[in-house]
């Protein structure tokens, strides 16, 4: 792993180019989760009524927030990275400078995580407007750390998928077979306790489940020792995914 401070330069390159896309990407990052919040939260929430003493919207916000981080950072390192690699040949010119392949890939993963963080923060603001707040100021910090963790994890996983993708079409497998099921099996929209045992076990293997649990505690203020385990799972998966993503992408770049 030939990593250096030059990761920052790669991040900066993305930031300079992002200037032009800020408005459209802000809109895109907001619309999908907003859609969930409005349709499920307000529309369906009206039928569901109260969940643990609070309106359904309070149940929904923490989950939708972390899933928006997941989706944003994933898409950035799927489509964004693929365009830079195949269409714009950006990596080719990067690796001819003192920026190593590892720096370039890690820089893009960090960028993907940043995009996730931006989406998450935007979502939090929307939730605040709708009257849903994290339990306390320290909880906000926990939430920010969680969003960075989730961002790095899913950006790295997406990088791994991109490293073996022959074309855009390939990403459909990942989004339809991995990301979408994750949304429904991780307790974002409803609690998992009515699931049969095997489905509960399955959901334990989904990193989003752990992120949703932490996020929920952040909003309810009901912290418990199980959350340390949730954080640990996310952290370990993240380290592995980061390493594997960089290794596989480097294999694709350096021939």
């Amino acid at each position: 792993m030939n990593l250096s401070y030059r990761i920052y330069y790669v991040f900066l390159r993305n930031l300079v180019s992002y200037k032009r896309f800020v408005v459209p990407t802000f809109l895109v990052s907001l619309i999908e989760p907003l859609f969930y919040l409005i349709t499920f939260g307000i529309g369906m929430g009206a039928y569901i009524g109260y969940f643990g003493g609070k309106p359904y919207l309070y149940f929904l916000v923490p989950g939708v927030l972390v899933s928006s981080v997941m989706l944003s950072s994933s898409f950035e390192c799927l489509y964004g990275t693929f365009v830079k690699m195949v269409h714009e040949k950006l990596y080719e010119s990067l690796v001819a400078t003192p920026v190593s392949a590892e720096d370039a890939i890690a820089g893009d993963i960090v960028w993907g995580a940043f995009r996730g963080l931006v989406s998450g923060v935007l979502m939090m603001i929307v939730a605040n407007v709708m009257g849903v707040f994290p339990a306390s100021i320290p909880s906000v910090l926990v939430l920010l750390v969680l969003m960075v963790f989730v961002g790095i994890l899913f950006a790295s996983l997406a990088m791994t998928v991109t490293s073996v993708s022959p074309s855009f079409d390939f990403f459909n497998y990942y989004t339809e077979l991995v990301l979408t099921p994750m949304l429904f099996f991780s307790g974002v929209f409803f609690p998992l306790d009515k699931f049969p045992g095997w489905m509960k076990t399955l959901s334990e293997f989904m990193p989003l489940t752990h992120a949703v649990k932490i996020s929920r505690a952040v909003f309810s203020g009901a912290y418990n020792s199980g959350l340390a385990w949730n954080f640990l799972v996310i952290f370990v998966l993240e380290v592995i995914a980061f390493y594997v993503g960089i290794r596989m992408m480097k294999k694709r770049l350096i021939k």
């Binding site: 030939n2 250096s4 030059r6 330069y9 900066l12 390159r13 300079v16 180019s17 032009r20 714009e88 040949k89 950006l90 080719e92 010119s93 990067l94 690796v95 001819a96 400078t97 003192p98 920026v99 190593s100 392949a101 350096i254 021939k255």
Partner: protein, 305 residues
């Protein structure tokens, strides 16, 4: 003059495919060194190893006293690369392309700004500073690639077919700039398929084919050794070859039949021409021998895909 690049038995394999097949050569400090060859000869693979973006499969490759390796940041720091494909950052403007690239070389911002102003002038793109890349012509893009390669004041410039797809004006401008750099003591390593380009720029060349070096030397000397001074092309039916060659037997020349043309390679074409006129042949052409003749003779005149 001492060598700045030394390759010994340099080999590059992609899986089972051998792209560079144990070649050895030396590039002297301050010269312009050309790699010539048809498509797939191994030129690009060779220079990619020199500028440290492709691992060496076998053999040794020393650049400026260091082993070339993909993680050798010191070498990348002192090299400028003009790639074959236009790898500009299309999301950024001309200026942003350069300032972002200057970061990659750890050039302080103030110095970078000064350098960018100089370079935009050097490649005559001052007016395009704030343009987006897709608003530039191919010639402008290539010139911007030249400017980008010079940001870090490189000691060695690696140019992979730098004038592909350019009109004559743009091509000459790039040649002038590259020659100008050479007078400043920069070592230039160039691949090209244009024989004129090699003649215009290179002090020494190697001709590569199927991963091997076929010939090396000074361009004009190679032409003289391999072909002679002049070429006479005669377009006659192949059946007449023997007859004509017999008529010309008092001259010393080499001949070759390719397609519809019989080529004579000789020192002095004048006498030969006179005799051809006596033979009442009209469809012929006398011209100075060029690097292209050497190239075609060595790599074959048939198409290489």
């Amino acid at each position: 003059m001492n060598a700045i690049v030394t390759a010994k038995n340099l080999t590059k394999k992609y899986g089972q495919f051998v792209a560079v097949d144990g070649i050895s050569f030396e590039i002297k400090k301050g010269e312009c060194f050309g790699l010539l060859g048809p498509n797939g000869a191994g030129k690009t693979s060779t220079i990619k190893m020199i500028h440290c973006v492709s691992p060496v499969t076998a053999g040794t490759l020393m650049v400026n006293g260091m082993a070339a390796h993909i993680d050798n940041r010191d070498l990348k720091m002192m090299m400028g690369v003009i790639p074959q494909e236009i790898t500009l950052d299309v999301d950024l403007t001309v200026y942003e392309n350069l300032i972002v690239f200057a970061h990659f070389f750890d050039i302080p911002r103030r110095e970078a700004k000064k350098r960018i102003a100089e370079l935009l002038k050097f490649v005559e793109l001052e007016q395009k500073r704030s343009s987006k890349i897709d608003q530039l012509s191919t010639g402008m893009k290539r010139r911007l690639l030249v400017a980008r390669a010079l940001l870090n004041n490189p000691k060695i410039i690696v140019a992979d077919e730098p004038t592909t797809g350019l009109d004559p004006q743009a091509r000459h401008l790039i040649w002038q700039r590259l020659r100008q750099l050479k007078t400043q003591g920069v070592t230039l390593i160039l691949t090209t398929q244009y024989m004129e380009e090699a003649h215009q720029l290179c002090d020494s060349i190697v001709i590569m084919h199927q991963g091997k070096i076929l010939k090396e030397g000074m361009p004009s000397k190679l032409v003289e050794d391999e072909i002679g001074r002049e070429v006479v092309e005669v377009r006659i039916p192949p059946e007449d070859d023997d007859k004509i060659i017999q008529h010309l037997s008092s001259f010393s020349f080499e001949h070759e039949r390719v397609g519809d043309t019989l080529y004579f390679y000789c020192r002095d074409g004048q006498e030969l021409m006179r005799r051809l006129i006596e033979l009442n042949l009209h469809n012929f052409l006398n011209r100075p021998a060029s690097l292209e003749d050497v190239f075609l003779k060595l790599t074959g005149r048939s198409l290489i895909e």
